[in-house]
Structure formats: structure tokens, C-alpha cells
């Protein structure tokens, strides 16, 4: 049977990577599979993708998808720095960073991570007394223009969110709760598979319609919000409970705090701002010619400018 090809003529297999070395049942494997699905369905060119990560189990996963793409497994906690630099060198690259909570906001491998909730119990019995850091709250405060939360076990929600994050211009933060079945799956943990499954509250039902597809889904007026993305793709958010406007940053912050107080794990698109420019644009670097391709002609002062400049030191 011939494999189904995506819009750039690649089969799903082209988006696979090396065999995983994660523990059986690890949430990271599900995320990897969702990434493969999203990248395949979007028709992302493997050569345009750069897979970035730090150190940790999750940081190993870029080796397990899109074999053809360049990947970079850097040092612990500094994936964003490497990613920023690479993006400046070639702004046409799609930078996809995978980083664990330990990598992003500090350790968590059997030990407590900085995202652990107060009162959460460690595998060996210790109780966490520190206030957690919520990556989404931090991202909202720092002005990130795409903030979403999801769960590794919910591909129906995660795949469209990954697609939207890739389509988004600028930095997108996707906080995926991925239970560690080896160190953090016991009773008392607020990040165990069963706890997350029980407490997962979806804000809305998410679907993503890429720019190259017709919008076929139809919702009765008032039951869904449609967000048009800068590349012509659409995010359709079907109302599940209360009214929620993901373009309202204050509402997003409120929701994040409120759900934490209630002990809920809210998932979905928390915030999006499609009008904000990406970093390369604010840096005014050329749109078409990557900085890394510029040569002597463009980068050096001309002889005349150089001479004038040297004379100014006289």
C-alpha cells in the first residue's frame, strides 16, 4: 500500500527519528508522536526545521523525530539562548525547542522540580514546601505572544496546539504536562498520570485549520472563537464552559491563577497575540537574506568609509 503523502510529498515516515530510549509509557514518547503527526500534517520541510534542546530526558527527544533535520542538544537550562542565536543567524529556520521543566525552570528527576506544587509528595516521601513556578504565568508576564497548556495524553488537543505554535510568528510557549512514569507516578504527586487525567479541565475544544485547507468545520454562532493567524491559518476554539477570550492577556493571567487556587489543571490556548512581531523583525534584520549568508561586500566598511573612519581618530 502506498503511503499517504503530505502537501510537500513526504510520507509520515520522513518525520520519524531514531528509536526512543525513554522508559516504556513515558509521556515524552507520546509528545514525540504528536510532534511527528503535527509536523507531517503541516507539511513542514525537514530542512527548514532546527530541533533544539537542553539536558534531560525530554531534551533527548529531538533525536526521535525528523531525522533529516539539524538538531542541537546543548547544556542544561540554556536551550532558549542557543535557539535565539540560531534564529538570528537564519531567521527562515523553524526553531523547535524541547525542554523539560527542570531544564526550563530547574531540576526534576526524582528530585523536586520547580514546577512541583506545594504539598506534592516525592517518590521517597518528602513533601514539597516551595511555591511552584508556572511556566505559563511566567511567559504571560514576560509578554510571550502564544501561551498554551496541554497534556501528553491528549493528542486531540495537543496536535492542533503544536500546529498553531509552529504557525505562530514569534515565540510560542507550549507547556505540556508529561507525567514521568518512573519517578513521579505515585499517589501524592500532583503530576502523576492519573492525577493529571482526573484534573485536566479543557478550556475549549481546539482545532487548527492550516492556510492550505478550507475551513470546513461549522459551529453555531456564539459557540466558537476563530483566531486568524498571520499566515492565513485559523484556530477554532469551541466553547466548552464559560466564555473565554484568548486574546485578553489579563483574563489569561486571571484564569491561570484561578485554576491553580482551585487545584485544576486547565488546558488549551491561554493566550495569543497574532499582531506582535517576532524577534528578528524587531531586530530589523533582513527578511530574505539570512545574516549568516552575508559576505565581505555587505559586512565590511567600504575602503572609503574605512579611511574616513580611521581619520576620525586623528
Amino acid at each position: 500500500m502506498a503511503a499517504t503523502l503530505n502537501r510537500i510529498g513526504l510520507a509520515r515516515d520522513a518525520y520519524k527519528g531514531a528509536a526512543t530510549t525513554m522508559c516504556a509509557g513515558c509521556g515524552h514518547n507520546s509528545i514525540t508522536n504528536h510532534l511527528i503527526k503535527a509536523l507531517y500534517e503541516l507539511g513542514v520541510e525537514p530542512q527548514r526545521l532546527a530541533k533544539m534542546s537542553g539536558i534531560g530526558c525530554s531534551s533527548k527527544t529531538p533525536a526521535y523525530f525528523v531525522e533529516q533535520a539539524h538538531g542541537f542538544n546543548g547544556v542544561h537550562g540554556r536551550m532558549p539562548a542557543l535557539t535565539t542565536g540560531a534564529q538570528l543567524a537564519d531567521r527562515r529556520l523553524i526553531m523547535l525547542g524541547v525542554s523539560g521543566d527542570g531544564d526550563t525552570v530547574s531540576i526534576g528527576l526524582g528530585q523536586f522540580s520547580a514546577t512541583a506544587d506545594v504539598g506534592s509528595v516525592q517518590k521517597k516521601g518528602a513533601v514539597n514546601t516551595f511555591q511552584p513556578i508556572d511556566p505559563c504565568a511566567v511567559a504571560l508576564t514576560l509578554g510571550c505572544s502564544f501561551v498554551a497548556r496541554s497534556f501528553s495524553g491528549d493528542g486531540k488537543q495537543l496536535v492542533p496546539l503544536i500546529k498553531a505554535a509552529i504557525a505562530h510568528r514569534g515565540m510560542a510557549l507550549l507547556d505540556v504536562i508529561s507525567p514521568c512514569v518512573t519517578f513521579n507516578d505515585h499517589d501524592g504527586s500532583t503530576k502523576s498520570y492519573s492525577w493529571v487525567k482526573e484534573h485536566d479541565e479543557e478550556i475549549h475544544d481546539v482545532s487548527f485549520i492550516p492556510f492550505f485547507e478550507e475551513i470546513a468545520v461549522d459551529y453555531a454562532p456564539g459557540t466558537a472563537v476563530s483566531v486568524e493567524m498571520h499566515d492565513g491559518s485559523h484556530l477554532l476554539l469551541k466553547k466548552l464552559g464559560e466564555e473565554y477570550d484568548p486574546t485578553d492577556r489579563m483574563q489569561a493571567m486571571h484564569l491561570v491563577e484561578d485554576s491553580r487556587a482551585k487545584g485544576q489543571l486547565l488546558t488549551g490556548l491561554l493566550y495569543i497575540d497574532e499582531s506582535s512581531p517576532d524577534f528578528a523583525t524587531t531586530e530589523h534584520i533582513p527578511a530574505e537574506r539570512p545574516l549568516r549568508d552575508l559576505g565581505e561586500q555587505e559586512l565590511r566598511l567600504s575602503r572609503a568609509d574605512f579611511d574616513t573612519f580611521m581619520d576620525e581618530f586623528a
Binding site: H70, F72, T84, L88, A89
Partner: protein, 601 residues
Amino acid sequence: MSNVKVNELTFQAATVNGSGSQSANMVLTRAIFSMGIPVAPKNVFPSNIEGLPTWYQLRITPEGYMARKGDPDVLVALNPATWANDLKTVRPGGAVIHEEAYSTADARDDVTYYPVPFAKLAKTRIASDTLRKQLTNMLYVGLVGGLLGIPRDRLEHGVQRVFQTKPKAWQVNLDAVNVGYDFWEENFRDRPCGFRLEPVKGKVDGLVLVEGNQAAALGALMGGVTVAAWYPITPSSSLCENLIAYADRFRVDPKTGERLISVVQAEDELAALGMAIGAGWAGARAMTSTSGPGISLMAEFSGLAYYAEIPVVIFDIQRVGPSTGLPTRTMQGDVSFAYSLSHGDTRHLVLLPGNVEECYEFARTAFDLADRFQAPVFVLSDLDLGMNLWMTSKFKYPEADFDRGKVLSAEQIEKLQGDWGRYRDVDGDGITYRTLPGTEHPLAGYFTRGSGHDENARYTESAEAYARNMDRLARKLEGARSALPQPILDEPGSEVGLIAFGSTDAAIAEARAVLSESGMRTDYLRLRALPISKAVGEFVARHERVYVVEQNRDGQVYDLVRLELAPDQVGKLRSIRYYDGQPIPAEAITRPLMELEAVPA
């Protein structure tokens, strides 16, 4: 007066920082330089924004020596807090211009005093309330002009030169200068001092005054830097600040506003180097710039760039450590640390510019070397070199194109039918071929990592693969020995050899001249890079006794040189160290050398 010294003196202004004295000092420097007189400025400033003592020294010699010389001949004393001590440092026969209110009751009588009511003059003769504090300093420019015989038109040139971009500031400053000049003529005409400045010809023709950090910023631009990430720290900040200023001028399309560079102030030094490495990995010419505490923070990422073989240029403008140390004082203290920065068997390419021209040259060529060796290249300047003005010939326009190193294009990969490996040593020089993300070929991709990897960049913990890789990295470094800037040799023929590097060169030049006057000839090797060139061992072999002179306590380069020598040569090596945070003066070399060589002084 018959014994007046012409064009030979050390001037010192003792002021309070943040008061605007720097502009006054620059006006004097530019005025004197424009008389054709060689100048050597040194700024001694506190780690503070406003209110602490600061000194500016301007050394003037017929020979054009550029090293620091301790004590001043002419002092302008405008800081009550340091007045008593400042006065003690003046050489006998010196001249002292001071605020009238300072007591000279039981002061020394071997200097000439010029008391000036600075505060009163400022109040009555400077109209602008807002500028009064700054302009008070311009008064001493005029007074020193009168004292040393600097023509008024030269001072005017100095004002215009310093306020080059602010013509509106010319007149007010010049007025203040003239108030000082007039005061000197009215009150001190009959009280001449033992020093004079006279215009000369042929001493500074074609020379310019440049700070090392200006030179390095220009070098980086000419070297094609397109991504610079940094975090502010004295004394390196002015490098990236200059880079931004020059880029605003030369890398921005005035019509579209498009910039052909991105200079990012990162959240800290770790991120700064991380961004530079990310950019280098993706094929940009990338750099960061830092000093002491920052270079310590960059250790882990430096190891990654070494092991994963990513080009990046790291400027370290050395200051006094350990720890926060003396942030505004100079030292050559990071040499052995930078050379092996990071854990494991890490070894780096280190460039050691010895003057501002080399700050420019090495900044530029560091990007070629980084691309060629696919490695971090450290450029070790220091506060003295980086933040003081130095006389130099104008820099040369580069003739060679960029060396982008071994980068495979999509076409080349096609030709190889995809048979390539990121870490395969095809050429036997330890330098392998890389591809850049975005290369349009399905077989171009590979996975970069700081963990164990084999020739095809695949993760491995194999003992053999690890050892093979480390051996190859060692081979690559061996090759760099002869490819990096080679030592500069000056061997008139002597049993005694000197080895130095970096900003110590200025003091060596003077020390050798002084020694040769007292009959002691010395040969000299100036080291310009690590790993150490074979030429160093050969130099030692040609001499009986070799002194390594450096500005740190532990003799870091003395140790590194020793490691390179054959066992029978090691005993020839001796060490001269200077480490009080001030730029090394020639006496700190001549004195110990004369003692050790037992030459009657």
C-alpha cells in the same frame, strides 16, 4: 630658566569621578597630541558612578613611551579627599596646581604651588548654572595650558575634537578654558615651572589615538560579525557599546532601516555565550565580550563549543580578580583559565593582542580562525589596552576574504551521495566538515551534542569512539600552533631573553631601551597566541637565561612556557611578575632584571 625640560613630563589630574573631568583630560590630551608631541594616557578610575577619587595620567616623552610611569611632575589637585596623598607623589621640582582652599601650611617645599580659587572662579566667571560643575574642570585645562605653554589655538582644537559631534558645546567650554588661561597669565606669569611643551615635527606623523575596545569593535565589524550577544561588565562593556555605535553607522540601510547585524544584550553571560554559540552553529559569525566574573560563568558553554566544535569568538577584557576583585584595574590574570576553560580535557585557541593595532587585527582574524578550526577563539585583551587611548598607526584595510572553513553545501553533499560524517577526519588535520541548518539536502542534517558522539555525530558511550574523538581534537589543536599569530622576535644578540605578551609590551619596549643605555642588551620574544608556538622553545634554546614578564601573581605564562620546554631547557626560565592592578611600569622590569643579572645600576 636653563634646566627646563621640554616635552618630557608626567601630568596627573586628581579629581572626583562623575564630575566631568574626563572631557577636560581629553581636551588636554588632544591639544598636546596636535602639537606633534607623543602622549600616553592612563585613566585610573574607581568602581563607582559618581563621587570617588579618580586620576588621569598623561605621560609625555620624546621617545613616545606608552607604559605607565608612577609619579607625576605636574599635578592638578581638585579632590580634597586625596589632596594630602596626591601631593606626596609629586616628583621633586614638580608643579602643583590646586584649589586655593587646600592647606599648604606644612607642605613640602621642593615643588612649586599654583593656588587657584576654582570654586570662586566658577561662581563668578561661568554663567551656566547647569554646566558649572563640568566646566570647572575646563578651568584647569586653561591653567595647564598657561603653565606648560600650550598655544590657545591648540586648546581650541582640543575642545572641538573632544566635542566633535556637539558643536554647540564648543563656545562654553572654550570660554571656561580661557578663564583658566587668563587667570594663569594674570597671576603666575612670573612663576614659571621646570616643564614646557613645544610643537615638534616627525614624532607622531600619521598616528592616531585609539582605545583597544574601539579597535576590537572595528575589527569585529571588519571580520564580518553578524550576531553579538553580551552582558555588561567593566572593562569589556565599551567593546559592545562601540560595536553598536559603529554598526548603527555602517551596518544599517538608511533607506529601509534594515540592519546587517544583531547585537543582543542577554540576561546574563551564560545566555550571552549560548546565543553566540547558537548563531555560530547556524553559520553566522558570532561573538560575545566579557571580563573576569563573566568568563567564569561561560565555562560550561565554552566546553560545549569546544567539544561540539562550534565557531564563536569570545573577547575577555581582563580585569583584576579573583572574584569581583578590583573591577576597574588591569591584570593579565585569565590566561591559563581561558586556555583550558571548562571541565574535562578542554583546550582553546587564545589570541593575545599586544597593542591596539592587534586588538583590531586579532578581532578580525579571530572569526576566520573560529570558522577554520570550528572552535571558540578567545581574544584576551585587558583594561589597560581596552580602555586607555594608545598611539597607533592607522589600521590596514583587510585584503583577504573571509575564511569560512569547511562547510558542505547541498551540491557537495549531493556529489558525495550523502556519504559524509560531521566528525570524520577526511583531511587528516583533525578539522572535519560541517553543514548548516537550512541546507537543502535530505542528508545534510546531523545532531549536535555535548555528550559523547562518534564520527557520524551519533550518540555513543563507546570507549574507543570517545578516545578517537579526543585524539582528533588534540591533533586539531596541534595544527593551530603554527597557524595562529606567531611570536614577534627581536634579537639584537644577547644571552638574556625576555618573553612577554599583551599590554606588557609597552613596558618591555621602554625597559629594553633603558637597559641598553646602561649597557645591557636583551633579546625579546612577544608571544601572541596559545597553544604556544614552537618558536618559543627555539628562542629559549638560543639563550642562557630567559625571563617571562607578566601581570599576574602566579606566573601563568611562565608555567605554560615551562611545559613546552625540553627538560634541559627548563632551568633557563625565570619569572618576573607584577600584580598591583596598575599597568606595569618599565621600572618593574628593569629593577628585578638588573638585580638578577647583577648589572650595576
